[in-house]
């Protein structure tokens, strides 16, 4: 095992010398043909013989107790195998991140909580029977309105502790200019297209679950803990995951349900959550209340900055949406205050949804900067330029790489920012008011311990194995590119196996750390193989040149296959954060630009074009990275204009738990979007030199749209999403 701890800057020789042009190239996804032909197998597809189907009966009340369950009518349905109402392991909710889901049958703490399982020969019978299970419950008053609850300012939960540096009140009192505004964002569903789904089967005392999950190593432990069995008896498979977006970081309740049901009926069991059940059984992003206060001089130089927030969680969840996370190192200012207070509700769990913190926090901070620039009569980019810190303004640590100013400049030039008219409402085309807006994007970078095994076969082909997942992020292809670049092979000479908990443990997919952490593990494993090849060539690894499946040292050139001497060469790499990680301030950066048209009569908003310029360290695959970034920008459009999970505060139920009324972006909502990368290998971040991209694209994207709306029509909406009813009263006279 080659361990690589980031105790100092690192730049692998294999990536510096090798000249394959494989890494970074827009290589088409190697699993693409499987995906476009429907042969890629997701969680609820490949089922063993004799598979039965499960359905979950849920609580109609939002708070209280179950007094009794009458399953007789359900049991009488033809094809029903069993109705399970008495298993104490029945999960009350999905596990958030790496914890076990709380279990228990009788206490109800949110509407839609599982109370019973029906197992039947067919999905039709299971669904019918589930509707016939009579649940008698005793309702109690519930805290269903997060906005009405009083925040706990000393909850001690979450990974982001309150930050209070300097005397904010005095600094604001002394400032020449004070900005103070409040913003709200609604709850959001992750809403992956593949619902949470699992096929589970037992072979004796060994359980296999084929499930839709982002982090299967952790899932394995969670499933074992909840079922009360040894983790070695659990195998988790997730070779293809139909989208995650944070919702599949933990173990879904359906995975436990499937395992319990399979054990009870002695057959494999398959379950996919109906779409409307995903709204309550899968965690959602907390709604937020935010307040931005800035004290600056008349030139816009910030002396004090505060980003306060309130988020919601239920009694059993520990996750706290880290709203100001992206604001922490964004702008200069001696006096700094960032906090996230908490209200407790009797609603489904809140959790990590794509870019927890930044996705919603950037709405407040980046709209505030736009408002402040307008107030000061400054260009929004100029205000940001004047407040670009030299070092991390809180910790004083140096930035690993930070090309934010370059992102602004490149973006302004590419987008035609100089054509923006500073006066709102000044540009009109027929019935449409046209505006331009921009925002900064910042997403904290994480590197997480990860392992990968690389095997150079006797045929000269390479196998990469890790329990990492590909949730649409391009992992299969990226890891093949890393190994190909290191070992001098095209990607079609590299096979990648993912999504099996028997393989070396990785960090999984989450927090934008997947590609860089797993990619670094592959780098380290390849370095070990290079060292071995060097020994066999009687040369130092840095003297080796690898190209087209051959190793050269000077004039000597030997095919890789020959160097295996008939035995595969295998190595495992383990990437770990270290002193360099903690000693530097690391983030991905970007600048978002949007042009919108606001209908002067109806208030309808159409996004006409967008541009994102991003600095993400080394670009591992230009096509998949751009796709990720653009996908995030589309989320920003939808967050700015459409997405809003609405709770019926009388019952605690979501009023719009499906795609008919929870409006994700559709094709017609999305204009041409340009994405450009400013590439600088980040040698402090990790061995492969890459930083996160999947969540950066959403950061600031919605704020750029909201700022463009203000520039178009002069109406500033601080309660997201910006629907036309909030615009229409403020529109200029027709």
């Amino acid at each position: 095992m080659r361990e690589g701890k980031m105790d100092g800057p690192y730049r692998p020789a294999g990536l510096t010398q090798a000249e394959q042009g494989v890494l970074g190239a827009a290589v088409p996804r190697i699993e693409g043909p499987a995906k476009v032909t429907g042969t890629a197998q997701y969680a609820a597809e490949k089922a063993p013989e004799g598979t039965a189907y499960a359905a979950i009966v849920v609580s109609a009340i939002g708070h209280g107790r179950v007094i009794g369950i009458d399953a007789s009518a359900a049991e009488a349905v033809a094809g029903v195998l069993v109705v399970i109402t008495d298993d104490p392991r029945l999960p009350a909710q999905g596990g958030n991140s790496r914890q076990a889901p709380p279990t228990g049958l009788r206490d109800i703490f949110y509407a839609g909580q599982p109370v019973a399982i029906v197992v039947a020969e067919t999905p039709q019978a299971a669904t019918e029977a589930a509707q016939l299970v009579r649940v008698e419950s005793e309702a109690a008053a519930g805290r269903f309105d997060a906005g009405a609850e009083t925040p706990d300012t000393d909850h001690g939960k979450g990974f982001l502790p309150p930050i209070d540096a300097g005397d904010l009140d005095s600094a604001l009192a002394a400032a020449e200019v004070v900005f103070d505004q409040r913003y709200t964002t609604p709850a959001h569903f992750p809403a992956a297209l593949e619902p949470h789904a699992t096929t589970a089967w037992w072979d004796g005392d060994r359980l296999t679950v084929r499930t839709s999950n982002q982090i299967i190593g952790a899932a394995r432990g969670t499933i074992a803990t909840v079922l009360g069995i040894d983790k070695e008896r659990v195998r988790v498979l997730a070779p293809f995951v139909g989208g995650g977006f944070g919702g599949k970081t933990g173990v879904g309740p359906e995975a436990i349900v499937a395992a319990i049901a399979a054990e009870r009926v002695g057959r494999p069991v398959k379950i996919a959550l109906p779409r409307r059940q995903t709204a309550s059984m899968v965690h959602h992003r907390s709604p937020t209340r935010q307040r931005i206060r800035i004290g600056c001089d008349r030139d816009g130089r910030i002396g004090a900055i505060a980003h306060d927030s309130v988020v919601a969680q239920n009694e059993h969840g520990d996750f706290v949406e880290p709203v100001p996370f992206g604001s922490l190192p964004l702008y200069a200012g001696q006096v700094r205050r960032f906090r996230t207070d908490l209200v407790t509700v009797d609603l489904p769990q809140t959790g990590a949804v794509r870019a927890p913190g930044e996705a919603v926090g950037t709405f407040a901070i980046e709209c505030a900067m736009d408002e402040l620039a307008h107030q000061l009569g400054l260009d929004p980019i100029e205000l940001r330029r004047r407040n670009e810190p030299e070092v991390d303004p809180l910790s004083g640590k140096r930035f690993s790489t930070r090309r934010l100013l370059d992102c602004y400049d490149e973006g302004a030039q590419r987008f035609g920012w100089d054509r923006r008219l500073p006066t709102p409402g000044a540009r009109r085309e027929g019935d449409w008011l046209i505006g331009l807006g921009m925002a900064a994007a910042l997403r904290g970078n994480f590197t997480v311990e990860a392992q990968a095994r690389v095997t150079l076969g006797t045929d000269g082909r390479v196998l990469v194995e890790t329990d990492m997942t590909d949730i649409g992020t391009g992992t299969y292809t990226i890891l093949a590119q890393v190994a190909g670049e290191m070992l001098g092979l095209p990607v079609d000479a590299v096979e990648v196996r993912l999504g099996d908990s028997e393989l070396p443990p990785s960090a999984g997919s989450g927090g934008s750390f997947g590609a860089s952490s797993a990619g670094s593990a592959v780098v380290l494993a390849c370095e070990d193989i290079l060292a071995e090849l060097g020994r066999r060539m009687n040369a130092a690894p840095e003297e080796l040149r690898l190209r087209e499946g051959c190793v050269s040292v000077g004039e000597r050139r030997v095919p890789l296959a020959d160097l295996t001497h008939g035995e595969p060469i295998q190595a495992t790499g383990k990437a770990m954060p270290g002193a360099e990680t903690s000693g530097t301030s690391q983030a991905s950066h970007g600048a978002q630009f949007a042009e919108v048209a606001v209908n002067a009569v109806t208030g309808e908003v159409r996004v006409r074009r967008m541009l994102g310029v991003f600095e993400i360290g080394r670009v591992l695959n230009r096509a998949t990275a751009a796709n990720q970034a653009v996908g995030g920008m589309v989320w920003g459009i939808a967050y700015a204009l459409q997405e809003e999970a609405v709770v019926d505060t009388r019952t605690g139920r979501f009023a719009n738990p499906d795609f008919g009324e929870y409006h994700v972006a559709v094709n017609a909502d999305v204009p041409a979007i340009e994405c450009h990368f400013i590439e600088e290998v980040d040698t402090s971040a990790n061995q492969v030199g890459a930083k996160g991209v999947g969540e950066l694209g959403i950061s600031g994207a919605g704020a750029a749209v909201a700022n463009a709306i203000f520039n178009a029509c002069g109406v500033r909406v601080r309660d997201f999403p910006v629907t036309l009813d909030k615009l229409i009263a403020g529109l200029p006279a027709v």
Binding site: R29, P33, E45, T122, L193, F659, A665
Partner: protein, 176 residues
């Protein structure tokens, strides 16, 4: 009961309430068609029935015994891709891949609708609509992609439709 899917005859005796989608996925081993919502809201289950695209989750299998049904498996295979499948690969018109079979079946059906002169909400000429990026976006909006690979999906479809850059950019009727 019997069906003709991808030119092949299948027989099964599913529960009479079984949808065409569940028939394919749970009885015939044709799992290429995906179930995202089971409500006709996401389009992941799109199949071609007598050449027309439908949400197979909203239609009962028993109704389609005399129809010609095409699923993603019938369009092409990994070593023999349909041009639309190949274009989705080369333009990276997906991420997770879950909506992809539905997008591709829908795109194939959509191009045929345009050829037959079906107008859309954004058509300038209702009697003889022509395709451009805006038309593609409008006509493909029944197929959700939560990864939001929409710009690449439009690129892939435009390539298969043989649209020039100028043709793609014609007409911006709705958005000012």
């Amino acid at each position: 009961m019997h069906w003709t899917i991808n030119g092949q005859r299948y027989e099964a005796e599913p529960d009479i309430r079984t949808t065409l989608l569940d028939l394919a996925r749970e009885h015939l081993g044709l799992t290429g068609s995906k179930k995202g919502c089971d409500h006709g809201q996401c389009g992941s289950c799109t199949m071609l029935v007598n050449g027309r695209r439908i949400n197979s989750c909203l239609s009962l299998a028993v109704m389609h015994q005399d129809d010609e049904i095409t699923t993603i498996e019938g369009l092409g295979q990994p070593d023999n891709l349909h041009p639309m499948q190949a274009a989705f690969v080369s333009h990276d018109g997906y991420q997770c891949g879950y909506c992809t079979p539905g997008q591709i079946c829908s795109a194939v059906g959509m191009l045929d609708e345009v050829k037959k002169g079906f107008p859309s909400w954004v058509s300038d000429d209702l009697s003889s609509p022509s395709l451009n990026d805006q038309e593609i976006g409008e006509r493909m909006s029944g197929n959700l992609c939560r990864c939001a690979a929409y710009p690449n999906i439009v690129d892939a479809i435009a390539e298969v439709a043989g649209l020039s850059e100028d043709q793609r950019q014609t007409s911006q009727k709705v958005s000012g």
